[in-house]
Symmetry: C2
Subunit: 137 residues, 2 copies
């Protein structure tokens, strides 16, 4: 299936196949409700577990742990344990994560530019079609 082509990297695969996976790969690392919030917080500098728990409003201890583990596994966060008592664990963003955050800038700007248009589109849509309880967010 080759309708047109969108080649941004000089990759031989067709546009219908390549970027999907690649973009999805990227998105999968920052998917979930909390990854971005955590990533953003540690990008300021190292942060401890409890610091993050307070810095990311609404996160549960469990999800903080799980998300940190996944980010660590992907190499986006580095975990450093100090063998003190009481224990002290610091999390920091890796260079890769800092780069990632930079790459999100374009997305952030896009959202900023179109926030109103999107809100308007939704209102219009919900007005035409009824809003049958499918209108979350």
């Amino acid at each position: 299936m080759s309708l047109g082509n969108i080649d941004v990297t000089g990759d031989p695969r067709t546009a219908a196949e390549r970027p999907v996976c690649t973009v999805l790969e990227a998105l999968n690392r920052i998917s979930g409700k909390w990854a971005i919030g955590i990533l953003l917080n540690v990008s300021h500098g190292p942060a401890r577990f409890t610091e993050l728990e307070r810095a990311v409003p609404g996160i549960s201890r469990r999800m903080l742990t799980l998300t940190l583990r996944n980010l660590e596994r992907d190499g986006l966060i580095a975990r450093r344990v100090y063998a003190t008592v009481p224990p002290k664990v610091e999390y920091r963003a890796t260079d890769m994560a800092v780069e990632l955050y930079g790459s999100l800038t374009a997305l952030t700007q896009w959202a900023d530019r179109h926030r109103e248009a999107i809100a308007g589109s939704r209102e219009a849509y919900d007005r035409e079609h009824g809003l049958p309880a499918g209108a979350v967010d």
Copy 2:
């Protein structure tokens, strides 16, 4: 890229508060398993329902419909019905969606650059810690 502060828009809010929401807003519009694949396909030009069904491998009719509706509601996809028989419906990406796709380029490139590093990090992580069936993807 300087840690400490990440100000890309001149927004007064602190980095810990503002971009989270904005980025999440953007991500929420393209979340879900299928939005990107659909968006990418219609970005080549208008596509019909059944075309998309075949173009996006693995998608169910139900999820295609649902995702299309959500994208339409957000103003990322335009739906055009031709009153013919049999019916014909065309979907095309709006300008906003095309812009969005452009903004994803940075992300795509990031994923390309770090694909190996991430895979390596995962292997290493799974080797040190056991891989307790939590190692999907």
